[in-house]
């Protein structure tokens, strides 16, 4: 950015960076976001959290500061201990049903397959799962791993280390958020550029397209697309979010192109015979590039939140993949058993990143567009 000549004035980006640097909150937020991105990079390349799904702790191993717990305390000593950990709630509408089911089962008394039950719903696959578990246990016994009684931030149901799982989950959630935001911004910019630059029927067409997409509430649109695309996967969820989320970018970019297409520099480009595409993306785009950048930042936060909800509901990342949403899904059942650490880890990681990202986005917008403030 440093020019040898004193006469050149600093460009938009240099000015924005200068403004941003004086904003202490923005710099802290940027550092936090950078830290998350660095962790993401390390985990994506397999340097950290590669073996996040290794069962290194005992089931539901508590965080180190709480000290080790016996199997009964952890509620994993077969069915009955887990059941005791769920006290009857006086106002629980299902209490009667649960009591009845328990009584019936007590009479049957042949349920040593130890299915994990919540609210008395019997898992039909419990026996198979128990067999698979037993087999797996044989396998892991052969490799003779000493399972640890406590882990720094505890372990989940299978004994996965929560720290590594959170790192892996962050990777999934952030990658999905960033890629989907990139896709949505690209689409919105392309549509907005075409509509704003060409005007007339092209503009009418894209405006119609825009009003169609905005008249369906966003979450409903996402769920409808999720219902149609049956296969789960990271690509599917990126497509769902990206294809539905371009409308806000479109509106702003279109307005910018309408404003810029009549400016003198565009007419000058026209006079030297620049093609439409050249004028749109070589001449105009650099002048408005701060708009998609800020929008992408806003969308990333929104998409991370959406991904968490979709994965929580089971429409997001496939089973066996960690994401903040799937962690929260597991944590919901764990909380009833008093295992709060996975919930705490996933929520804290998400809250810290989203707060930092939002604060940085606000600062970025103010720095790039000082008139707006």
């Amino acid at each position: 950015m440093n020019s040898p000549m004193e006469t050149t004035s600093p460009g938009l980006w240099a000015l924005a960076w200068r403004r941003l640097r004086t904003d202490r909150i923005a710099m802290v937020a940027l550092a936090v976001v950078a830290l998350f991105l660095l962790t993401l990079l390390l985990s994506a390349t397999g340097i950290v959290a590669r073996n996040w799904d290794a069962e290194i702790g005992v089931n539901y191993a508590p965080p180190t500061f709480m000290g080790a717990q016996s199997a009964e305390e952890r509620g994993v000593q077969g069915m009955h201990a887990a059941e005791e950990a769920v006290p009857d709630n006086p106002r629980d509408p299902l209490a009667d049903v649960i009591r009845k089911l328990r009584a019936e089962r007590g009479a049957g008394a042949a349920t040593d397959a130890a299915p994990v039950e919540y609210y008395g719903v019997v898992d039909p696959l419990a026996r198979e799962i128990a067999e698979i578990r037993a087999e797996l246990a044989k396998g892991s016994a052969a490799t003779a791993v000493e399972r640890r009684a406590t882990l720094p931030l505890g372990a989940d149901k299978w004994g996965h280390d929560i720290i590594q799982k959170t790192i892996k989950g962050s990777e999934t959630s952030i990658v999905v958020g960033l890629t989907a935001a990139l896709l949505a911004t690209l689409l919105g910019t392309l549509f907005g550029a075409l509509a704003g630059y060409y005007g007339k029927w092209v503009d009418d067409f894209f405006n119609w397209f825009y009003s169609v997409f905005t008249s369906v509430p966003y979450l409903l649109l996402i769920l409808a697309v999720a219902a149609v695309l049956q296969q789960k996967g990271v690509l599917t969820i990126v497509l769902i979010l990206g294809l539905t989320g371009w409308t806000g970018v479109f509106r702003l970019i279109r307005a910018e192109y309408i404003k810029h297409k009549g400016r003198e520099y565009v007419m000058a480009a026209d006079a030297i015979g620049a093609s439409d595409l050249r004028k749109m993306f070589i001449h105009i785009f650099p002048n408005i590039s701060h708009v998609p950048l800020v929008q992408m930042s806003i969308l990333t936060v929104a998409f991370i939140k959406s991904e968490v909800i979709l994965s929580f509901l089971g429409f997001g990342v496939p089973v066996g993949m960690a994401s903040w949403g799937s962690m929260l899904n597991e944590a919901q059942n764990e909380l009833i058993l008093g295992k709060w650490w996975q919930l705490a880890a996933a929520s804290a990681a998400m809250a810290v990143l989203v707060t930092a990202f939002s604060l940085f986005t606000d600062a970025l917008r103010d720095a790039l567009d000082p008139k707006l403030k």
Binding site: V212, V216, L220, W324, V352, V354, L359
Partner: protein, 312 residues
């Protein structure tokens, strides 16, 4: 006025048609052959052919499209694929519980957000203002899921202050017993973004000349804020509240799911889980229509709030 409303309704037609085409393409073209979903894993070719005939999807796309439009206009989508309940029945019975939660929620949230935002905008730049804004940003960063999981566990399950979940038959019981905690949680989640937004609306007004004039002629501060500033900031607030109403209907789906409230939102999730396409199609189309009508209603309300607005 009547001419304006008619023209606006006329202008909605192409958009509505677009929504219909979008939903049609999504479910009849991208979604693949629904006969395979309906027939399940065990199916033979005759069954498939039979189901295809029943659904009318052995016809050309144009005929199918026409069937879909007829279904929308007559509000007769047939029966749900998974429960056999008629779709019109699904929609009408699920609307009540949703509104029982949503109407009190919207009123409380709007009033609270207006009151708080006006207070914060009045002391803008002060420590209070900054603390409230930071609290809002942090509050908005925590997933709505965490609020629901923690509050449901702590307030209902542990302390027993509220029912954990459920829904009754009488309106009063639902509103004052079952809907209390859902409303409280949705309020805690929704107030932060509204507060932030309304604060910017008030900040736009609070430095205007008429505020100075009001002070100069000796109006009390509450009067300036609650009568003059509020009246002028009302237009963007009304737009925001009205535009959000239909999406609130869907947006409350997590709350409805966690608390087993038999509303529209929970129905959408169930339908997605069961690949119950007719239910999703019907809800999408009608909610889109409702969104457009609410936008029109918002425009008409501008005129009532601000006589300077010209409806063109």
């Amino acid at each position: 006025m009547t001419a304006y409303i008619l023209r606006r309704l006329w202008q909605m037609l192409p958009t509505m048609l677009g929504v219909v085409v979008l939903v049609f393409l999504l479910f009849n073209w991208v979604g693949g052959d629904p006969a395979y979903i309906l027939a399940g894993k065990m199916s033979n070719p005759e069954q498939i052919a039979n189901i295809r005939k029943q659904l009318g999807i052995d016809e050309s796309y144009w005929v199918q499209m026409w069937i879909f439009i007829k279904q929308i206009v007559t509000a007769d989508f047939g029966a749900s694929w998974s429960t056999g309940e008629t779709i019109s029945n699904v929609l009408t019975t699920r609307l009540g519980p949703s509104l029982t939660v949503l109407i009190p929620l919207t009123i409380l949230e709007t009033l609270l957000a207006i009151g708080l935002a006006l207070g914060v905008a009045y002391v803008r730049g002060s420590l209070t203002d900054r603390m409230v804004m930071i609290a809002c940003t942090v509050g908005m960063s925590i997933s709505i899921l965490v609020y629901i999981i923690v509050f449901q566990y702590w307030l209902a399950y542990k302390l027993g202050l509220f029912p954990v979940q459920g829904w009754g038959d009488s309106f009063a019981e639902n509103l004052f017993h079952y809907a209390l905690l859902p409303i409280l949680i949705a309020l805690a989640v929704g107030i932060a973004p509204s507060l932030r937004l309304f604060r910017t609306f008030f900040l736009d007004e609070i430095n205007q000349d008429y505020v100075r004039t009001g002070r100069a002629k000796g109006l009390s501060e509450p009067r300036i804020l609650w009568v003059h500033v509020l009246r002028n900031a009302a237009i963007p607030i009304v737009t925001h509240v009205m535009a959000n109403l239909p999406s609130l209907l869907i947006g409350a789906f997590l709350i409805e799911r966690f608390f087993s409230i038999p509303g529209i939102g929970r129905e959408v999730i169930l339908a997605v889980e069961r690949s119950d396409f007719p239910v999703i199609k019907a809800i999408t189309v009608y909610v889109a229509a409702a969104t457009m009508l609410f936008n029109l209603l918002a425009d008409l309300m501008y005129k009532a709030i601000d006589p300077r607005v010209q409806l063109k």
